[in-house]
Symmetry: C2
Subunit: 199 residues, 2 copies
């Protein structure tokens, strides 16, 4: 790494600490920022600061929001009978993008992962159980990731909820649309066979 002047060095260091931004990208970004108009740089710095200041977690569902409750929890037109359980606020965004689900969400903020020392008590399961006691939910859709940890978390929560007579479902596994059978991994392919539907 070349010896840059201190303020530039500091900027490069800060940028390269972000995920997916290595030393080279950080340098390129830093030089780009220096070449930007002063007001644009100000806007960038301010957007970072104000996003961090005004965004918080919804006290109901745990989603990222600048209002409390969040716009989804506060939306009376959304179906209160359906609750979709996801790992992160980004998963809420992904679900919202399909524009088909009209129920509500519950964000776990992680999944059970004994390897990383994350147990059931470390994610938002307690608040989920509390919601189910007061809200008129009929179906809980487990939309945790199709990973080992996501599966285990879905199973764990399903087992907790079933005795209460709730319907608990799991999003489907199978081949992604547009995928190539030849390149699909065995587990996905076997899941897609197992979950086949009659035409």
């Amino acid at each position: 790494m070349a010896k840059y002047a201190k303020p530039l060095m500091r900027l490069i260091d800060e940028l390269s600490s972000l995920p997916g931004i290595g030393g080279k990208s950080a340098q390129r970004l830093a030089f780009h920022i220096l070449s930007m108009e002063e007001e644009d740089v100000e806007a960038l710095a301010e957007s970072i600061r104000s996003a961090k200041k005004s965004m918080r977690y919804c006290s109901v569902c745990g989603n990222l929001t600048d209002t409390d409750p969040c716009s989804i929890c506060g939306d009376e037109t959304r179906d209160k009978k359906s609750l979709c359980v996801v790992e992160t606020p980004r998963d809420v965004a992904a679900m919202e993008r399909i524009r088909e689900y009209r129920g509500r969400y519950h964000v776990l903020h992680g999944c059970i992962s004994p390897v990383d020392g994350i147990g059931p008590g470390d994610i938002n399961i307690h608040s989920l159980l509390k919601r189910l006691q007061t809200e008129e939910v009929e179906e809980v859709i487990m939309a945790t990731n199709p990973t080992i940890e996501g599966e285990a978390t879905a199973m764990y929560i399903a087992r907790l909820l079933k005795p209460a007579g709730l319907k608990v479902s799991r999003i489907a596994h199978g081949l992604p649309v547009g995928a190539d059978l030849e390149y699909a991994d065995e587990v996905t392919l076997s899941k897609s066979l197992e979950n086949r539907k009659e035409l």
Copy 2:
């Protein structure tokens, strides 16, 4: 794109306007920033702001610096007889990284490119000529990029300086170290043949 809350949306917009950062990366970065400690976010925003405020171009060589003249121009131990002409401050950094060149620099801030409407008057050639009149330079090393525009710029400046009796040199073309002959492009390969050295 999902409907995020406004401050988050604004942050994603700002981030995706940076070079090499698409919509998906911007979202990932934004969520990462929201998950950072408040003081780390503050440090990031401040590093952007202060780099832009304190970095300027050296009045002598045009390099990016937080002092004027820059640390290279102000370093009395550096060889005043050799002047390396580059396109951008990043090229100065690249040259400095090899730790072999002990002369000084002159940053053109671009290269002659008629296609983009950039003529000799739009880059720092005038200040270069002025420096050569007052400084005791003996050799000018043209280290513009090995592109058509970089070549043309090197040629143009060489022709301007030669009549003044200055030694003007050009960095070598050839195969990059560690490259594979089989995959080298024809122009590079023919250059590397043309510039062969006796062993």
